[in-house]
């Protein structure tokens, strides 16, 4: 029976012959199969699936090949975390260069219109909110991109009543980023001769001491957060898990099977839901797990803190995806959809080879995917949630949703038109803005004031 064994080539020769679409569909199938195995803990099978995927996926192939490459890496990472020693050893020489991170953020800013649109909307909202104000204080949570504030300086400079005294407090955990920011902004302010003060705070957002923000009475306070607030959701289930572990030690078995069952149902349901209206928010994703909370203590505290500063305006930009589901399959499916859209953006706007594209895909999206798929608890920072969740959350923290400026949206639309790629769209929803690729919302921008 030796004749039975394949005589030549790779064990899956026919895989190489698949055309792009066939391969894509097959990859989706394999990914979901693999994820199912990972979710149910059958690592042998997961391994076999990974092996097959590796025949097809490629970080520089077509969109689905690229996505598959990063998702498998993430799934493998998750598997590997079952052996913490192994996992740590394999990552022991990993170095993260701040300069590289800054570079990647920059490339993301430049390759996509998302941040630009968010900045235009934010700046326009700020400009309108501080009209006539003489003292303005802007708190930038996790600032990385000086371009936003350079643009604002220019706008304020052209204000009929003259520029205000402007203070920007920037929060970031890396000093280098803040230095770069300070340099750029001070230079610009000097050029325009605007009274300007830069107040850097080296801190993680979760450890931010509100006192350090040095908010003074009499100044118009503005808070701006771009793709950062969701990280504060990371702590809750950690705390809660500990608590519930104690509480339900005996029930563990049943919990487990419930989770498994949920996996099964969510798969088809999510796929279906997604088809029906592009997306229908699954209202229960945060509450569907018996383990996860409906409220987030850390987030609530932070928002309450901000509320206490009574900002005149708060503008929040977030990834508009539901990546905070309690089960792996839920998150994987959602992530597949949203990162598919992001990778599609690149595929249709950038040629395949540039290093920048690979870097954004690997170092930004790839890492996010890995975080969403492989991490749990406090480690899992990329807890992107849909706008309606944010609205609920901010509303219950005492903020009132303000409609974004019409003129801002007009500018944003023009900016997107200038991109000349009709895949990018802006959708207005009750005064908030969703920035979409085709019909899929990818980012949300919303403005908030303090409810008295």
């Amino acid at each position: 029976m030796t004749s039975l064994s394949p005589s030549l080539g790779s064990p899956y020769p026919w895989l190489k012959e698949l055309k792009s679409e066939e391969r894509g569909l097959y990859l989706i199938h394999l990914l979901l199969t693999c994820a199912n195995h990972v979710a149910s803990g059958s690592l042998e099978n997961a391994n076999l699936a990974l092996e097959q995927i590796s025949q097809l996926a490629s970080p520089d192939g077509d969109t689905m090949q690229r996505i598959a490459a990063y998702f498998t890496e993430a799934l493998a990472d998750r598997i590997l975390k079952n052996w913490p020693g192994l996992h740590k050893a394999l990552n022991s020489t990993r170095i993260s260069l701040v300069s590289e991170e800054i570079l990647v953020r920059k490339v993301f800013f430049e390759l996509f219109p998302f941040l630009k649109v968010a900045f235009v909307l934010t700046n326009q909202a700020i400009t309108e909110a501080i009209e006539g104000e003489k003292m303005v204080h802007i708190i930038d949570l996790h600032s990385t991109e000086p371009a936003q504030w350079v643009a604002l300086l220019q706008v304020l400079n052209a204000r009929p009543e003259g520029p205000p005294h402007l203070r920007i407090t920037a929060v970031h955990q890396q000093n280098e980023v803040l230095d770069h920011m300070a340099h750029r902004l001070i230079e610009e302010a000097e050029k325009l001769d605007i009274p300007f003060q830069f107040n850097p705070i080296v801190s993680k957002l979760e450890n931010l001491d509100m006192e350090k923000l040095r908010v003074k009475t009499g100044e118009a306070l503005v808070v701006s957060s771009v793709l950062q607030l969701h990280t504060l959701l990371a702590f809750d289930d950690e705390l809660l898990r500990k608590r519930s572990l104690l509480a339900s030690k005996n029930l563990n078995g049943t919990h487990f099977s419930r989770v498994l069952q949920m996996n099964q149902s969510t798969l088809a349901e999510l796929l279906e839901k997604d088809l029906v209206n592009g997306y229908s928010p699954s209202p229960d994703s945060a509450s569907s797990s018996p383990l996860s909370p409906t409220t987030s203590v850390k987030m609530d505290n932070f928002l309450n803190g901000l509320w206490g500063l009574s900002p005149k305006l708060m503008v929040i930009t977030e990834q508009d995806s539901n990546h905070n589901g309690s089960t792996l399959m839920e998150r994987l499916l959602e992530a597949l959809y949203s990162y598919a859209a992001l990778f599609d953006c690149l595929e249709s706007t950038v040629s395949r080879t540039p290093l920048e594209r690979l870097k954004v895909e690997k170092m930004l999206f790839g890492e996010e995917i890995k975080n969403i798929i492989a991490c749990e608890g406090a480690e899992r920072k990329e807890r992107h949630e849909k706008l309606d969740k944010w609205i609920q959350r901010l509303d219950s923290a005492g903020f009132s949703n303000l409609p974004l400026s019409y003129f801002g949206m007009l500018q944003a639309r023009r900016l997107l038109q200038g991109y000349g790629c009709d895949g990018y769209k802006i959708r207005e929803e009750n005064g908030n803005v969703l920035i979409c690729w085709q019909d899929r919302p990818l980012y949300s921008v919303s403005a908030w004031g303090c409810r008295k």
Partner: protein, 608 residues
């Protein structure tokens, strides 16, 4: 407000706008290029309108070469900045506090404009052949009368339009098809056409009459394969019946082998993966003369599906089809199979496939697979895999005597289990369309996901939804008697002579698809013991059990319709039936398998 807008323009840069305009252009040309190749294929059939036959009342515009090629025709009088569009200039003027006016959208249809090529010798210089859009004429002028400034670094091909060049550079060298004769092709279609006529190929195919690797391609849907694959299933089933009639021990192997013949020309060159071992080479092609080929692939249909030149090869390979009275290793090989099973299961689907080919069940599965996998099994799988995983080793358990046979296959490919067959008809047509599309260009990941999801929703909206859903809780397949219908109802049952007809068969196949017979996709070695049990499973009597399983609850009628639709796209399905019927009889007479042919003949009316 004006200040704000101008500042944003500064920050986000006019440079970017221009860049992106370029991207847009590039983008718009890329699909055109690709689709033109697709059109080329059909060009022989349908003559296209000559480009540039404008509406007679359109306004004809003749631009000088300089104006035509100017990138920024609209100049701001204050700062001399140029714009591509007047609207943009007007918006810009606003920043200078100059009077500005944007064109309002009017309700009435704007006057159509057509553009002349400035080159006097060009056909498009004539107003009657003017082109309908400005970008089009620009590109035309550059391509046909301009300097080819852009050179591909890899192949030195030159382009006049940057976007053409970019589009080319993206793919240059990435796709290469090398024929054994040494010729290189960058395009798959030209490669295939070439190979049809290449001598090297003929030699190659003599040495390797068929190749399993084609199956892989087929399973996952070569663009043309689904319909063909399906259309041929019928005949194979028939043949299996006939074989069975002739020889109860069943030359199962034979049933499997035809599968890999039907679709593609015998591969060579880069497609050449010789998995097929000598044992499985079809023997004595003469046994089934060209009528067999005709049976599979009536000539006029093949034109629809294939390049006519491919036909030749298909026919060749079809002749290898089943060889009625050829002695083969039959079920005896189950034991060997078992010994190979773990290897097969663990390592490679293709290896597993070999094994598969030895069993009738394999045939069924492939059918299943053809029906379903081609058209995306995912949705069902999502659930089913999970289910199988939970069921652990019993995953493959289609249950019941016959159901276990397939356990053998649980080790590989995909569990076709919950593929709701109800989803199939629509999926099927969807797949055909999309295959068509895939010839044009590759789908975005979003589109792929949507397609996959569509399968999910179609399936659960269907009458089979309940089936699908029940999988969450337990395996219905392993409890009811119907699961046995896998091979059961029509195929080998004792009751072949009565009401078993194709629809039954299809039902049972799809039913098999719905039961979790095929188990976990990567079942590993866990099924080995079962294999052993099954080794004395000569598709036995229990199989015949459930011919009650005839209701069309999987919507199989539609499958059959869609099958025949794909099979003979221009023919009405009735004709199709008749034809098949005839062919069946002819086949019968050749193979002396009268009894089954009767049952089949009788079923013609039930075909739909």
């Amino acid at each position: 407000m004006a200040a704000a807008s101008s500042s944003s323009a500064q920050v986000f840069g006019n440079r970017e706008l221009e860049d992106h305009n370029q991207m847009k252009q590039q983008h718009s040309t890329t699909p055109t290029n690709i689709s033109s190749t697709a059109q080329a294929a059909s060009a022989q059939k349908k003559k296209r309108n000559q480009p540039g036959t404008p509406n007679p009342d359109a306004e004809v515009i003749a631009l000088s070469p300089k104006t035509l090629m100017a990138t920024n025709r609209f100049i701001c009088e204050v700062c001399n900045k140029g714009f591509q569009r007047e609207q943009n200039l007007q918006l810009h003027r606003r920043g200078h506090n100059l009077p500005w006016k944007l064109k309002q959208k009017t309700n009435k249809e704007p006057k159509r404009k057509v553009y002349l090529c400035p080159e006097p010798t060009c056909v498009h210089h004539d107003p009657s052949r003017a082109l309908g859009d400005l970008t089009g004429i620009k590109k035309h002028y550059s391509r046909k009368h301009g300097e080819k400034k852009w050179k591909c670094e890899k192949c030195s091909k030159r382009y006049a339009v940057q976007s053409d060049w970019k589009a080319h550079s993206k793919t240059c060298g990435t796709r290469e098809y090398r024929c054994d004769c040494g010729t290189l092709f960058s395009r798959r279609d030209s490669f295939i056409t070439h190979r049809a006529f290449c001598d090297a190929l003929a030699q190659e195919s003599a040495r390797h009459p068929s190749n399993l690797s084609t199956i892989g391609g087929n399973l996952y849907g070569g663009s043309n394969t689904p319909s063909l694959g399906l259309s041929q299933l019928g005949p194979q089933i028939i043949s299996s019946l006939q074989d069975h009639q002739n020889n109860q021990s069943g030359d199962v192997l034979r049933l499997g082998t035809p599968l890999h013949h039907h679709h593609r020309p015998p591969p060579a060159g880069q497609f050449d993966h010789h998995i097929l071992s000598p044992n499985f080479r079809p023997q004595q092609p003469s046994a089934m003369p060209s009528s067999a080929a005709a049976f599979f692939l009536p000539g006029d249909q093949s034109n629809q599906q294939y390049h006519h030149d491919q036909d030749h090869h298909q026919q060749q390979s079809h002749q290898h089809g089943f060889l009625p009275n050829k002695p083969f290793h039959g079920l005896m090989q189950f034991s060997e199979l078992q010994s190979n099973a773990s290897n097969v299961n663990n390592n490679s689907p293709s290896g597993a496939m070999l094994t598969l080919f030895k069993t009738l069940a394999n045939l069924l599965m492939s059918i299943n697979y053809h029906i379903i996998s081609l058209t995306l099994f995912f949705s069902g799988l999502l659930i089913s895999n999970h289910f199988s995983a939970e069921n652990g080793t019993s995953a493959g358990g289609g249950g019941g005597g016959a159901g276990e046979g397939p356990n053998i296959f649980s080790g590989h490919i995909v569990s076709s289990d919950q593929m709701s067959a109800g989803a199939v008809p629509s999926l099927y047509s969807g797949a055909m369309q999309s295959n068509h599309a895939s010839a044009v260009g590759h789908m975005s990941a979003t589109a792929l996901l949507q397609k996959a999801a569509q399968m999910g929703s179609t399936s659960s909206n269907n009458s089979t939804a309940s089936l699908l859903r029940t999988f969450g809780t337990s395996s219905p397949a392993s409890t009811g008697p119907n699961k046995a219908s896998f091979v059961g109802s029509g195929l080998f049952g004792a009751d072949q002579n009565d009401q078993s007809h194709l629809q039954d068969l299809m039902n049972s196949f799809t039913a098999a698809g719905n039961s979790s017979i095929f188990g976990t996709p990567f079942g590993g070695g866990t099924e080995e013991p079962k294999l052993q049990q099954n080794s004395n499973l000569p598709m036995n009597s229990s199989l015949g059990g459930s011919d009650r399983f005839t209701r069309d609850f999987l919507g199989v009628g539609q499958i059959v319709r869609s099958v025949s639709g794909g099979f003979a796209s221009k023919r009405s399905s009735e004709q199709q039936q008749q034809q098949q019927h005839q062919q069946m009889s002819s086949l019968d007479s050749e193979s002396n398998a009268a009894p089954s042919s009767q049952s089949f003949g009788g079923s013609g009316g039930n075909f739909q």
